[in-house]
Symmetry: C2
Subunit: 112 residues, 2 copies
Amino acid sequence: METAFAATPKPPYYAVIFSSQRSADDDGYDAMAARMLELAAGRDGFLGVESARAASGFGITVSYWRDEAAILAWKRDTEHRMAQLRGRQDWYTHYEVRIARVERAYTRPTSE
Amino acid sequence: METAFAATPKPPYYAVIFSSQRSADDDGYDAMAARMLELAAGRDGFLGVESARAASGFGITVSYWRDEAAILAWKRDTEHRMAQLRGRQDWYTHYEVRIARVERAYTRPTSE
């Protein structure tokens, strides 16, 4: 999943920090990741996503949301729930999810 | 910087989400990253760190802290400030920093 910086609005908003260790099982993973990104991006309250995975298989994906209700609705999405199940069974050996309220943000553009 | 999952306490606590695009300039970067990790880990209120960088040079580092005072003190650390300056000048083409209050967290151990 190739992503770069998310153009988020002024805080406050919410972040879901998803840290994961991938298993060796690649079967269907890339297609799922692309589909989940597409589905999430179409949801009400979705603000953006940033993702990076190292060669070790350890990765962090942070998705940004307007509020907790939007996060909860996405968590309960039927197709997303099926992906979560496959994730637990096949694609990740371990993961951590943290839901956080973004209170301040600043950037450093190239021009500075 | 090789890190894995951070063993954080029960929320609430704080997260600093640092998203960055590395430049091609590697001069001193690895030594700085290792030194900043060492310095941060020794600070009062530091709870852990997770980091992943893709082959594209896009990376996410999330450090976890007890409270905002600990984050501010770390931001103002003299050696850290020098690293921030080098980062802006040399090592990153762009970065974003978001300070967030972690409100909920859950994990999925391998055993499940």
